[in-house]
């Protein structure tokens, strides 16, 4: 009946009296890679957390999030674990644990090969390391592998390339593009990375309104100006179109 893996119906999120997301109707299906864009504090993380079912209930002002057509709050935790994985912005490691062991603990459906995932994310050399000793970028790539290894078709990734150097940003974008059996929702700031990594864009405007569509339709100078509050210029070169904020 419904091909959407995840769907929102009139979802409204607010913090400190400010509407972050107003009456959002949206859905994502397998094979789609959505990027959520917006200014700082526009509500990207709040939205991703709500989509993942770990949002602060106090911020949830109305509407609902549905996974496979069923309200996310009605899903038992164990079933939800095999449907969605969530990458939070910051890991909060307290205890020493080896990377491979971490991936093994994150396995919900034994479908994925942890080592292959690490290799795809240029993290194979970290396999035996303790997570407490990793750099921010290394820890983030391990966290990406952790999300993928869970075996859930819906991946919600909050700023997955925030700590990555350019080479690894590119690598992560290429890896995301190989996840054909997944629906992805990603928050990110780098418009040029988004143009490469995403198929669709969901833009959060400062007044809580949302605009959505394919990357090609969503990335235009006028809209980017509305979203970010600064002027944008497209530069067409041999390697394609690049966006420059002015």
């Amino acid at each position: 009946m419904n091909a959407a893996l995840i769907q929102t119906r009139a979802l409204t999120l607010a913090a400190a009296g400010r509407k972050l997301v107003h009456a959002l109707d949206w859905q994502a299906a397998v094979g789609e890679r959505w990027c959520v864009i917006g200014r700082n504090a526009a509500g990207k993380s709040t939205l991703l957390r709500a989509l993942a079912g770990v949002g602060d209930a106090a911020l949830h002002q109305g509407g609902e999030v549905c996974w496979l057509g069923r309200a996310s709050r009605d899903w038992p935790a164990a079933d939800a674990a095999s449907l969605r994985a969530f990458l939070p912005q910051q890991p909060s490691d307290r205890f020493p644990i080896g990377v491979l062991r971490l991936l093994e603990l994150s396995l919900v459906q034994p479908r994925h090969d942890a080592r292959a995932l690490l290799a795809a994310l240029d993290a194979m050399a970290l396999a035996e390391r303790n997570v407490l000793e990793l750099s921010g970028g290394e820890r983030q790539r391990v966290a990406l592998a952790q999300c993928a290894v869970q075996g859930a078709p819906l991946l919600l990734l909050d700023e997955p390339v925030a700590f990555q150097d350019p080479a690894h940003q590119l690598q992560v974008a290429q890896w995301l593009a190989t996840l054909h059996q997944h629906a992805l929702v990603i928050s990110a700031h780098d418009v040029n990375w988004i143009a490469r990594a995403a198929t669709h864009v969901l833009a959060l405007l400062p007044d809580g309104r949302c605009e959505q569509g394919t990357v090609a339709t969503m990335l235009d100078a006028e809209r980017l100006a509305r979203v970010y509050g600064c002027a944008w210029r497209a530069v067409d070169g041999e390697a394609g179109r690049f966006w420059v904020a002015q």
């Binding site: 307290r94 205890f95 020493p96 080896g98 062991r101 000793e133």
Partner: protein
């Protein structure tokens, strides 16, 4: 670096050997020499209590560390043992079974701590040093209450202040109960090892992986409190075993709860037997309270861990 199977086997073997060595030394060494009858009737029960109490305290620390997601958690430092001591004293005053009072007191103190930590536990910053400070203040309150109760109680009916406030193994009993309790707790932790390992990643991470976090935390709270209560009922409030043992094992590279669940009680038993041996042989024939010996060793270790951070 995580331990490989071989290295873990070596470490476990070394720990077993050390425990046996301490056990034999504890049985043989003493002011009265090698009299077999004396060993059987006096030293063996005391060594068994030391082993049982040490195992319980170490396990209680391990469970509290998972519960509060804080590698510095310990039933003595965070007031659970103090709550047990107050509960036991109240039970003695009102003629209720002492172990029951200690268990109730430990549960109340543990519940209070979790209540205080509720906000910290809900967000990802659940290992904050503030939690340790709040627990330390809780411990101070229970210490003061225990002192007040001791002052108000007719002296003949109670063991001394040292027993309840820092712990003492001379005249301690309930060897069978402490050993059986430690064994049960070990089996329970092993049965839930995967869920506990996931909880160590964070309550949100565990929830995202499908764990029933609230239930697991309740189980850990009850287990840690009962273990501390039983230990206090038989030997008073001995500190730092629950902090030092799991921490040392983690430093040695043991990371999985599956392994920690049985290495921790073993280490706790060895540590407290050794501390007891030390406390009764340093200025023999005078016996020092073992809790004071443990605090002299444990408190500096705690300070080092605290200042160094958890890494």
């Amino acid at each position: 670096m995580p331990l490989t199977g071989t290295r873990l086997a070596w470490l476990a073997g070394a720990l077993v050997a050390a425990t046996l060595a301490v056990l034999v030394a504890s049985l043989l060494i003493g002011s009265a020499g090698w009299d077999l009858e004396l060993i059987r009737t006096l030293r063996a029960p005391r060594v068994a209590v030391a082993a049982g109490v040490g195992a319980l305290l170490a396990l209680s620390g391990l469970a509290m560390q998972a519960l509060l997601r804080n590698p510095l958690a310990d039933p003595y430092v965070l007031g659970t043992s103090g709550g047990a001591a107050v509960g036991a004293l109240l039970a003695l005053m009102f003629g209720v079974t002492m172990a029951f009072g200690a268990a109730a007191g430990a549960l109340a103190a543990g519940g209070l701590l979790v209540l205080l930590a509720r906000r910290a536990l809900a967000c990802s910053d659940d290992a904050s040093p503030r939690l340790i400070l709040a627990g330390a203040m809780l411990a101070a309150v229970f210490g003061a209450l225990a002192t007040l109760l001791l002052t108000l109680t007719p002296e003949q009916r109670l063991r001394g202040a040292i027993f309840w406030l820092v712990g003492d193994l001379s005249g301690a009993d309930h060897a069978g109960a402490t050993l059986a309790g430690a064994l049960l707790f070990t089996l329970a932790l092993r049965a839930r090892h995967r869920a506990i390992d996931r909880l160590l990643l964070g309550s949100e991470a565990a929830h995202l992986l499908g764990e029933a976090v609230r239930r697991l935390r309740l189980e850990l709270l009850v287990g840690a409190s009962l273990a501390a209560g039983l230990a206090v009922a038989s030997a008073g409030a001995i500190g730092f075993v629950g902090l030092v043992v799991p921490h040392a094992l983690r430093l040695a590279g043991v990371q999985r709860t599956r392994d920690l669940a049985w290495l921790t009680p073993l280490g706790g038993a060895a540590l407290l037997m050794a501390a007891d041996l030390l406390s009764r042989s340093v200025v023999s024939p005078i016996e020092l309270p073992v809790g004071a010996v443990m605090a002299l060793v444990g408190a500096p270790v705690f300070i080092v861990f605290l200042l160094r951070g958890t890494r």
